[in-house]
């Protein structure tokens, strides 16, 4: 008790003394985070201010903050390309919603299954194998997918032929690619996801399950009424993290899997690849800046709505 009062007193006196004195005393802690702050400012915060570029006619001489202000002029190009922008938005939403919803379902299922396996070494071996794809790059996965999807000689077409069906020309049929990309991203991520959930599961209070056993609850009932509710916070946190990653995370995924094949743009052109293409291939900074602003706004909207959903599920776990 005495210690506590002493601590509060200490805190109070420190609040009264000036910031400068505190810096002099604990200068070490004011020095340490500086490199990190500089990196964050340079690569995250100044680019946020750089959104201004959408309202100017960017020239090399004028630079990011000194070019001629043109108001909404850049958006003329954007609205001329509105079909492409809407297509990219649709693809981004479909692919990510599919991967996140199906992925989460599979992750939780696999985590519960891992918990049901009583043989310790078997479980460890399984974990070791299913986690491995998480560490592969999307470009390597692009090479893997080629062995499966090659028009001639790919495993899927070999199987189709064995079943007496016509082979599919995967590289020219956009219709299949939502499914392909969603399956690939689940394949890469389910080991990681399920192990995170499994780690959470093993921390649960076993007395709950013992009580349920005494009441004669079936296994499914235990999962439904004990495991899933306890997993809810983790599900919400991982969901929010996934949504945060949507905008910056899909360039290498789409490029690895489709190699930006124009024949597949109908279903594979996402906002990220759309920005990449307009910036690097056409070099039209006017158009690109408008799309880039759209990307930021869209990302903002996604995070806000994800947060709203999270708050509906459990107010404690919303981000803000």
């Amino acid at each position: 008790m005495q210690v506590k009062t002493r601590e509060t007193q200490k805190a109070l006196t420190q609040k009264k003394t000036g910031l400068w004195k505190e810096i002099q005393k604990n200068w070490f802690f004011y020095l340490l985070p500086i490199p990190g702050i500089v990196v964050l400012i340079l690569f995250s915060y100044i680019p946020m201010a750089g959104i201004y570029i959408a309202f100017e006619k960017y020239t090399y001489q004028g630079g990011l903050f000194g070019s001629e202000f043109v108001g909404l002029d850049n958006f003329r190009f954007f609205f001329a390309n509105i079909n492409n922008a809407l297509r990219a938005t649709r693809n981004t939403l479909v692919i990510n919603a599919g991967s996140i919803l199906l992925g989460t379902t599979l992750n939780v299922t696999v985590a519960i299954m891992l918990g049901e396996v009583l043989h310790e070494r078997y479980r460890k071996a399984t974990q070791t194998i299913i986690l491995f794809p998480h560490f592969l790059s999307w470009i390597v996965i692009g090479a893997l997918s080629e062995t499966l999807l090659a028009n001639k000689g790919g495993i899927l077409n070999q199987v189709l032929q064995m079943l007496g069906k016509e082979p599919v020309l995967w590289n020219t049929s956009p219709g299949y690619w939502w499914a392909i990309i969603i399956i690939a991203s689940i394949w890469k991520g389910f080991g990681y996801g399920s192990i995170v959930y499994y780690a959470t599961l093993t921390g649960f209070d076993t007395s709950l399950y013992e009580a349920a056993d005494i009441d004669g609850a079936s296994r499914l009932k235990k999962i439904r009424y004990i495991t899933l509710p306890l997993l809810k916070p983790t599900i919400v946190v991982l969901f929010l993290l996934d949504v945060g990653k949507i905008l910056n995370g899909s360039l290498d995924q789409i490029m690895g899997l489709t190699k930006l094949n124009p024949l597949l743009f109908e279903t594979t052109d996402t906002i990220t690849t759309f920005v990449y293409r307009t910036t690097t291939q056409n070099g039209q900074f006017g158009t690109a800046s408008a799309i880039s602003l759209y990307q930021s706004l869209f990302g903002c909207l996604l995070v806000l709505s994800a947060n709203l959903i999270a708050r509906k599920v459990d107010p404690e776990y919303s981000l803000f």
């Binding site: 702050i37 790059s137 000689g153 799309i291």
Partner: protein, 298 residues
């Protein structure tokens, strides 16, 4: 009672089988790639890919070493330098930041503000175009080695992992060191860093893998083939089967020699996978310690 026991076993058996199937699904594509890299090109053209090489041969690898050895060695050198420098740089920046943020409010009053400052940057972004213009035209990060790792200095996710590790250090240790007259710097380097070693190794491993696999920075910021990384070489081969011939030492020969385009891609993919396989046991060991999802907020 006996009946229930049997039922329990049956359900477990279903789980065991499903997990075996999922493991198989994870392994098969890897088998296919390794097998393809060990098969002759003409065999794949005729019979397609297979799980096991029918007539294993190292032809593709000898071809790559003989004809593309220089380019591949150069890209490996670039990639390894980026992995080494990048990991050192990022771990230093993140450790320092995380240590400051892990302090109590009474010692460092901006811990909460700085946590928020870092976390906010992951949620909102200015889009890639301003970032690209700033990097290439203001910071000079284009077509040089620094462009491949400097922008990744602060991985906020890693920072939160380390902050959690630093917070777990018992207060008594720090207090007794203070009583012995240790300065903040001495406590940091002699006590806190050694005690948070597991977390720092985890973060370093994540960094090694992230830099080895990185595609984003080289794709945006590198146009000069002198700084191509292994991932870019692999991507170029995948996206354009003829990339292997470009600027090649064998352009005159190309008419006569049969170039193994498909199997060469697979061989380079195997080269990109191999270091991950080697690091994997370490990654696994630290992995479970590293994940503490609950500690992300706040």
């Amino acid at each position: 009672m006996k009946k229930k026991h049997r039922k329990l076993k049956r359900e477990s058996l279903v789980c065991v089988l499903v997990l075996a199937l999922l493991s198989l699904i994870c392994l098969l594509p890897l088998c296919l790639v390794v097998s393809a890299s060990l098969t002759e090109e003409s065999y794949i053209q005729q019979n397609g890919y297979s799980l096991l090489p029918h007539y294993p041969s190292l032809d593709t690898y000898t071809f790559l070493i003989a004809n593309k050895g220089k380019i591949i060695m150069k890209s490996l050198l670039t990639t390894c330098s980026v992995v080494a420098l990048g990991t050192l740089y990022s771990v230093t920046v993140v450790t320092c930041f995380a240590y400051a943020v892990s302090q109590k409010k009474s010692v460092f009053r901006f811990t909460r503000a700085l946590s928020f400052f870092a976390w906010f940057a992951t949620i909102f972004s200015g889009g890639v175009l301003p970032w690209y213009i700033l990097c290439t035209q203001y910071y000079g990060l284009k077509n040089n080695l620094f462009a491949l790792f400097i922008p990744y200095g602060m991985s906020v996710w890693n920072m939160f992992i380390l902050r959690g590790n630093f917070r777990q250090i018992p207060d008594e240790l720090i207090e007794s060191a203070k009583l012995d007259g240790a300065s903040h710097g001495q406590i940091f380097t002699r006590i806190s860093i050694p005690l948070a070693r597991a977390g720092i190794v985890t973060v370093a491993l994540f960094n090694v893998l992230a830099f080895w696999n990185d595609f984003y920075l080289p794709k945006w910021l590198i146009t000069n083939s002198d700084y191509y990384t292994l991932q870019i070489i692999l991507y170029n081969m995948l996206s354009n089967a003829q990339a292997l011939l470009k600027n090649s030492e064998l352009s005159e020969l190309s008419q006569k020699v049969k170039i193994p385009t498909e199997t060469a891609k697979m061989a380079v993919a195997v080269m990109a996978i191999l270091p991950i396989v080697i690091l994997y046991p370490f990654a696994l060991k630290y992995f479970v310690k590293g994940i503490n999802v609950g500690g992300i907020k706040g």
